[in-house]
Amino acid sequence: MTHKTALRMVAASVALALAGVSGAALAAKVPAGVQLSPKQELVRNNGSETETLDPAIAESVGANNLTRDLFEGLTATDADGKVVPGVAETWKQKDPTTWVFNLRKNAKWSDGTPVTADDFVYGWQRFLDPKTASPYASTYGTFVLNGLEVAEGKKKPAELGIKALDKYTLEVKTPYPVAFLPDVVSNLNLGPVPKAAVEKYGKDWTKPGKMVSNGAFVLKDWQVNSKVVLEKNPQYWDAKNVQLTRVTYLPVEDGYADVKLFQSGENDWVYQLPPGTYDKYKAEFPKDIRNAPMLGLRYYSFNNKDPLLKDVRVRKALSMVIDRDILAKKITADGQVPAYGVIVRGTSGADVTTYDWASWPMAKRVEEARKLLAAAGVKPGTKIKFTYNTSEYHKKMAIFAASEWKTKLGLDTQLENMEFKVLLKKRHDGDFQIARNGWVADYNDATTFLTLVQCKSDQNDNFNCNPKAEELIKQGNASQDAAKRKQLLTQAAKLVMEDYPMLPLLQYTVPRLVKSYVGGYSLKNPMDRYRSKDLYIIKH
């Protein structure tokens, strides 16, 4: 995300912009009548070994799951994905670019010392310091005054727009109005960091016995590639509302191994079901299966600079003939939703757009697509190269797409699978024709998806550019009226997709098995961010 895109995020959510959110403690609410198990221990698979437990450099979903349990930022998101108070009890947008956060006085580090505004100042400065080299520095740095300049080494960390007015009052300056800042600061990259521990132990401060944290849990044990064990933090200000006493995170990558651990009772939480197994496990474990859409898009990038694909008619024809219904129902068969636009359902800030042909019968779509190809001078038998990274999931989808293009358009697709890193390199370098791609939102706003198709965006692998759409996005972001902004961004999304820069396929879902006795798991969590604080074990 660039500085420019951040500018466009002005005036996202009106509700959040309202000053002074009430600071009532919102934690694991056990519904009345639910009997808790005497043993409050949870084992959840995290998909892979975390790259770090240092909140400043955490990048992957797995690492953030852990830091979200170990630390607490100014705000947090609850089981339904809503922003709730964290260390900050209340906050206020004093003027368009100045925010004041009032910290609760009972927030403590696990060593008993209070969490103060200085801990946040230190945490933020450290996060953006080039020496820390956090991969997310520019993603969130853009929301803080001088954030990008600090990350680029042009300004000193001390010049960052964050200041402790007193021990429990924090002032944050943004380079432009950022209405959804309370949402952004729930990310632990922007959390507090215990300066004393970091300075005492250096890089080792994240190790068991050395780490000092302020979240609902503390680090008990960390065996690389084996497990990370957290225990309830008695010093946590809201400890009385934390039910779990112990959470074990597993790093199992192999989906089948994951399910086997679930079946043999060593794992309560399958990270993600292997492709094509959803129906089977749904029948086998009807009480444990959980599946909900999240803010993510599976798509294929067209290389818009490619001699064959630079013709919009070719791109349109390729997109038209993919039967997303069969793909969703039969190939991935895990409840994913067909997608015909760059914005997915549940995204705030823009409506889902679609293509007019999406509702046509397939025969008509094929006929139209053939006409388009003929008009573009592409003959049957033409070779196209499809690149994807090695994975059962992507392989199945690729074979499906190749089969659609072959049987419906007579095109000869050559599949080429490669290691993930090689695909990334090729995608970024534009060394491909059609490539597998995907995106999961960093925050809930349409702009996170629009970065995929915007001119010169770091995340645009299609190399397309629509100046008119660009202008609409700019206008939308400048608008203070949320409804107007939404209309403009939707219009932009529609317009840019008429260029067929990419081929949207499916909206992500998270099909997983979670033991039925794990309570507090909400199916309305669009970012798939589950704090262990909100979870509990039901008597079973």
Binding site: Y256, T277, E392, A398, I399, L415, N417, E419
Partner: protein, 305 residues
Amino acid sequence: MLFRSKQSALAGTLDNALNNAPVEGRSPWVDARRRFFRNKAAVASMIILTLITLACIFGPMVLPHSYEDTDWEAMSMPPTTLNMHFFGTDELGRDLLVRCLIGGRISLMVGLLATIASVTIGIVWGATAGFIGGKVDAFMMRLVDMMYAVPYLLIAILMVTLLGREFYLVVLTITVFSWMDMARVVRGQTLSIKSKEYVEAARAIGVSTPKLIFRHVVPNLLGIVVIYTTVTVPGVILTESVLSFLGLGVQEPMTSWGVLIEDGTGVMETTPWILLFPAGLLSVTLYCANYIGDGMRDALDPKDR
């Protein structure tokens, strides 16, 4: 990795057996054949293996399905005579029998080609080192030792990543790490042949070194090469399957037994035939190759009379 150790295993035995063996003047082949046919398991294996090979070559030509055509109406179908899906279909509705046979072609070809390549390199390397001797020998054999110390899997991953996953590159990747045992064995054998009278005689009348090696030494290595080849083939086929497990196998929609088995393991509880057929074919082939290898070893063992 797995098969590398197996090769050195047998290489060790062979080393022992053949280094000290007198090179017979009379035809040892008749004897060997007689002994081989005494081993019923080996003979049966030979027949089965021939049948599998023929099926892989000709099966796809006569069957009505193509290995790459998907059928969304017939996904994961159990074996049936309907529509001639005798092995059923895979998760994308492709005919499993044809895919098994096509996969067999690839696996057998990988086995054969990688074996030929590594045996050839091994012979040339070992014979040269053994025959020239001295510093050249020491240097060449140190290189072999170094190759043993290299983490095979890592290099295999990097090679496939660097070069791509074309069929011949998979062969190359496997070959790079499977020639050393052969080289060691051949060197040992060469050392013993070198001192034989006929070689010395040839040298005395001025035959050049390369000619000596390839005219007189190499032909006398045939016995060991034959045994060794039968030992290498199963190891190489198994290695190909491990590469497939790591996602480094041949490119879809082309397939191999390793790729098919890897696909099948995930669904072995619900649609077991997707695993059982390719795994059955692979293991029968490997068993046969192993029995034949043992039979050959026994048959060509010079002490076994």
